[in-house]
């Protein structure tokens, strides 16, 4: 058990690298995911929580106790490293027991504890092997076991599944979620894989350039991305981003996109004004019709449960996703239009979401 709170945490490596003004709270028993592209500061944040890196600014609390300047060993936090960090000269059992060795615990208790954790992870038949003699997935479990055995207040995991093959990763994802439920240990989990984030997280935050750009439930990240970065980072293939203009003329508000005019409901803009925006449309919200943006089908990707069609519109590529083929052939021209209820508009200058689901977003930035 343990609730974690980060307040204005920062670590500046110079040259605008590091993490800046990170704030979030992780509730007791919550599975919290930090998601973001490479180099955005995920590992740094995790290492600051672990105490392996010191924060230049801010405060950190674990269960209302300030731990900002605690050495790692005083924090009661366990970490699973990306490359597992197992000791090659120790057996699986010795690796799992390593954290217990330093506690005042009888040998019998240590054995019982290691055995219990190993059973739960399904590695109890590997106890006498060395890390070099087991598979990557099994090593992963040993690393988890070493963290679990301590019963820490907080678990930190740095891309623990990134070294596994796709199938094992899916399997371990389910396993991790089950284990976390079972132990009910507060977990901060770092990944750059948004599928991992959506399947595991109770809540997730997205980082970019060392800052937290959005903090939400994983589905909200998909459904109402705070800005163009989140919109294009979450979702695969990414959301289509098309430059567009909102125009208010003749008492009508229209979205002008690639020469086409689409009526826009509930958009706050003064008569006679224009506003530069980015139109964001998810591939599954891209529709083919009798009129709209003229496009040319370039590539068809059929992955079984869905079909991705890539269209060329001038220099732009627009992706459309559906459960079945649209019936077009490669090279054929057609008309595309966004699902009016699903389209999103982002402010051109700040990239912030301003319009979504047929209405303006609350507190959206007005014209710059």
């Amino acid at each position: 058990m343990g609730s974690l709170s980060l307040q204005n945490i920062g670590r500046n490596f110079g040259k605008n690298k590091g993490v800046f003004d990170v704030n979030f709270e992780v509730e007791n028993g919550e599975f919290f995911v930090i998601l973001g592209p490479s180099g955005c500061g995920k590992t740094t944040t995790l290492r600051i929580i672990a105490g392996l890196e010191t924060a230049d600014t801010g405060h950190m609390f674990l269960d209302d106790r300030e731990i900002t300047n605690f050495p790692p060993r005083m924090r009661n936090i366990a970490m699973v490293f990306q490359n597992y960090a197992l000791y090659p000269f120790m057996t699986v059992k010795q690796n799992i027991q390593f954290p217990l060795k330093i506690m005042k615990m009888s040998k019998a208790d240590q054995d019982a504890k290691a055995e219990e954790v190993a059973k739960m992870l399904g590695i109890d038949d590997l106890m006498e092997r060395k890390p070099g003699e087991i598979s990557g997935g099994q090593r992963q479990r040993v690393a988890l076991g070493r963290a679990l055995v301590r019963e820490p207040a907080l678990f930190l995991m740095d891309e623990p599944l990134s070294n596994l093959d796709a199938k094992l990763r899916t399997q371990m994802r389910v396993e991790l979620k089950r284990l976390q439920r079972e132990f009910n240990t507060t977990t901060v989990y770092v990944t750059h894989d948004q599928v991992e984030a959506t399947t595991l997280a109770d809540r997730a935050c997205i980082m970019n350039g060392g800052r937290v750009v959005q903090l939400e439930g994983p589905l909200e990240l998909y459904n109402s991305p705070a800005d163009t970065f989140v919109a294009t980072f979450v979702g695969d293939p990414p959301m289509n981003m098309i430059p567009a203009k909102v125009k208010a003329a003749n008492n009508e508000v229209m979205l002008e996109v690639l020469g086409q005019l689409i009526p826009l409901k509930n958009f706050t803009i003064e008569e006679g004004q224009e506003r530069e925006v980015k139109l964001g449309v998810r591939p599954e919200d891209t529709l083919v019709g009798d009129q709209g943006i003229e496009a040319n089908l370039a590539v068809i990707q059929n992955v079984g449960k869905s079909v991705y069609e890539y269209f060329k519109v001038g220099d732009l590529t627009i992706v459309k996703q559906d459960t079945k083929n649209s019936g077009l052939v490669i090279g054929q021209n057609c008309y595309l239009f966004p699902d009016p209820a699903k389209l999103m508009l982002f402010d051109e200058a700040s990239g912030k979401l301003i319009y979504k689901g047929g209405k303006m977003v609350k507190n959206a930035p007005t014209t710059a």
Binding site: A50, R73, A78, A85, Y87, F98
Partner: protein, 302 residues
Amino acid sequence: MTERAMPIKNNNRRIDFKSLLWILPVLIVLAFLDFYPILEGIYFSLTDFNQFHFFNYGFVGFANYSYIFGSPELRTVIANTLVWSVGSTVVMVPAGFMLALIMNQKNLRGKYIYRSLYLFPWAFPAFLTILVWSNMLAYNGGVVNDLLGLVGISSIAWLTSPTYAMFSIIFVNFWLSFPYYTFVYTSAVQSIPNELYEAAEMDGYGSLRTLTRVTLPLLKRQVAFITIFGFIFTWNNFYVPFLLTGGGPGISTQILITYSYLEAFSYSNYALGAAYAIISILILLVFVIVTNHYTKMMSILY
């Protein structure tokens, strides 16, 4: 079943004579570097090759060996060699290791400056350093005795008394060699991934426990290899005793290699010198085989 029992012809095992051609240069070099001198040495040790039989020496069997085994010096020289090698190894190798650990600390500032500085004495010609030390340790006018005099300790015959001479050459050898061992250990210490330390740190292991539970077990092989290598190298390290004390006073600092030289070139008894060298090599050979059996340290070479 019958099909499976048929032997499969293994083409991989056939010796391809053309490929022998490729290892020929290596064999030739080895022949000149290793086989020829060793065989020649063994042969000399079985002759009466010396000043008097320079042009007409002949085979005398094990006469030189039986002379050596009968001589009272052998025990002293072997004992000296052991004290010299073990004494040097147990100080210079751990000191090098410790310095390597200190130099590789994550938060140490100015690492590169220290590294260059500690390599400097090692890059300096050894005989000059030994000359400097020989002056410093001189009974009269040596800096060491002058300094001792300042704190009221009377002069010590560092290089000319049997009590202190061995201590002095070991000390100078230590001073001369440990930067090299620091250097060698640095790469070993750096090969340990940082996460292994961090994992231990998070589990509550302090620096001493991390050293004994993580670093040392991880470097077991390297430590064994470097220690044994250091021992062998010191065993044959001619420079320090020869230049500092010349084996004296008496034969109190004579080691096998200097004694072999003494016999061969001071007394011009080449055959006897060769026999001493062969004895030295044989002892080392036994030593390497035994230690390798226990430590498997040679495996880091493959």
